[in-house]
């Protein structure tokens, strides 16, 4: 097909295309996350657990106790004080987020909860952030509260003794001294 070849030679051969896909959805929070978010709008951090003494408390809850596969039907209020379970210092900006790097993203376990959630830490010396460190939520003004985890702007270190590693994730709602 020499005729075809000469046609192609006149133009640059296409080797790639832009093929973006945009799909619209209406996301629905699950029933359990809806209960969690409704409490958060009131400034309360809650977890959920199976209705059984000693059952692990999950924050945020997603509807099941993953360890057993059973529904988390019971609401438990947890503290807005938490312990650093792990952390990282981020040097790249989050797209669309005003927070400027370097900033600290941490796995935090609220007192009374048994599993960590991810949030930001601020008002701290990044170099001194460490596992076991005690922190507390800094909330937005009440009139800005919505069904959202960013009702809490960030967590800030507080003057309490560190939690030993083996006790992280096991504190009662009253904290280490409780």
């Amino acid at each position: 097909m020499s005729e075809e070849k000469s046609m192609s030679e006149q133009h640059e051969i296409i080797t790639g295309i832009e093929a973006p896909i945009y799909l619209k959805y209406n996301f629905t929070a699950g029933a359990a996350p809806t209960r969690f978010l409704a409490q958060l709008k009131k400034g309360k951090l809650t977890g959920q657990c199976r209705a059984e003494p000693g059952a692990p408390v999950y924050v945020p809850p997603r509807g099941s106790c993953p360890a057993t596969g059973l529904p988390t039907e019971q609401e438990v209020e947890v503290s807005d004080k938490a312990t650093v379970q792990s952390f990282t210092i981020v040097h790249i900006p989050i797209p669309g987020n005003p927070i400027e790097p370097p900033f600290v993203v941490a796995n935090l376990v609220a007192d009374g909860a048994n599993i960590s959630f991810i949030h930001l830490m601020s008002e701290c010396d990044n170099a001194e952030v460490h596992i076991g460190q005690r922190v507390q939520a800094i909330w937005k003004p009440e009139d800005e509260w919505d069904y959202a985890m960013d009702n809490i702007k960030y967590f800030k270190p507080i003057d309490e003794p560190d939690v030993p590693v083996e006790q992280i994730g096991k504190l009662p709602v009253t904290g280490l001294e409780g």
Partner: protein, 148 residues
């Protein structure tokens, strides 16, 4: 304690992919940009438009390009009374299987027509090109009925 039954939030999910075309698809799109349509010969000699990279029966790599016509025949059509937002037209139109002149295998594309009764199986249609052709399947904006 009152709480909302359902919390929901509309969002748009974007996958901003670029795709490598390879020599066969790339050649087809390059020709589209020039407002030409090419097919490819399958192992049994059938001309496939748009060209496939491999023969579906024998898995043989295909490379024998063939120029085909810009007019063809409607093999089947579906009349879209209620176009969806993602669809290529915002008023009723037809999706169709169209066998271009010189091709043996029909291709899927759309036909602009005023009403369903204007379209029929066996009807002749011709390609309508986009104002700017860029090397994309929608360089053929649509097909329209050939007036006899």
């Amino acid at each position: 304690m009152s709480q909302p039954d359902i919390l929901n939030q509309a969002f748009e999910l974007g996958f901003t992919y670029t795709r490598s075309t390879g020599p066969v698809v790339g050649r087809f799109l390059t020709e589209l940009k020039k407002r030409n349509i090419v097919g490819i010969k399958a192992s049994d000699g059938r001309v496939v438009v748009p060209p496939m990279e491999y023969d579906p029966d024998t898995a043989e790599a295909l490379s024998d390009f063939v120029a085909v016509g810009q007019e063809g025949e409607v093999v089947s059509f579906a009349w879209v009374k209620h176009p969806r937002e993602a669809h290529p037209m915002d008023k009723p139109f037809a999706w169709a299987l169209i066998k271009l002149d010189g091709a043996d295998v029909p291709m899927v594309h759309c036909i602009a027509a005023k009403q369903e009764s204007d379209v029929s199986t066996g009807a002749r249609v011709k390609a309508v090109w986009a104002d700017d052709t860029i090397g994309f399947i929608t360089d053929i904006r649509c097909f329209e009925l050939v007036k006899e």
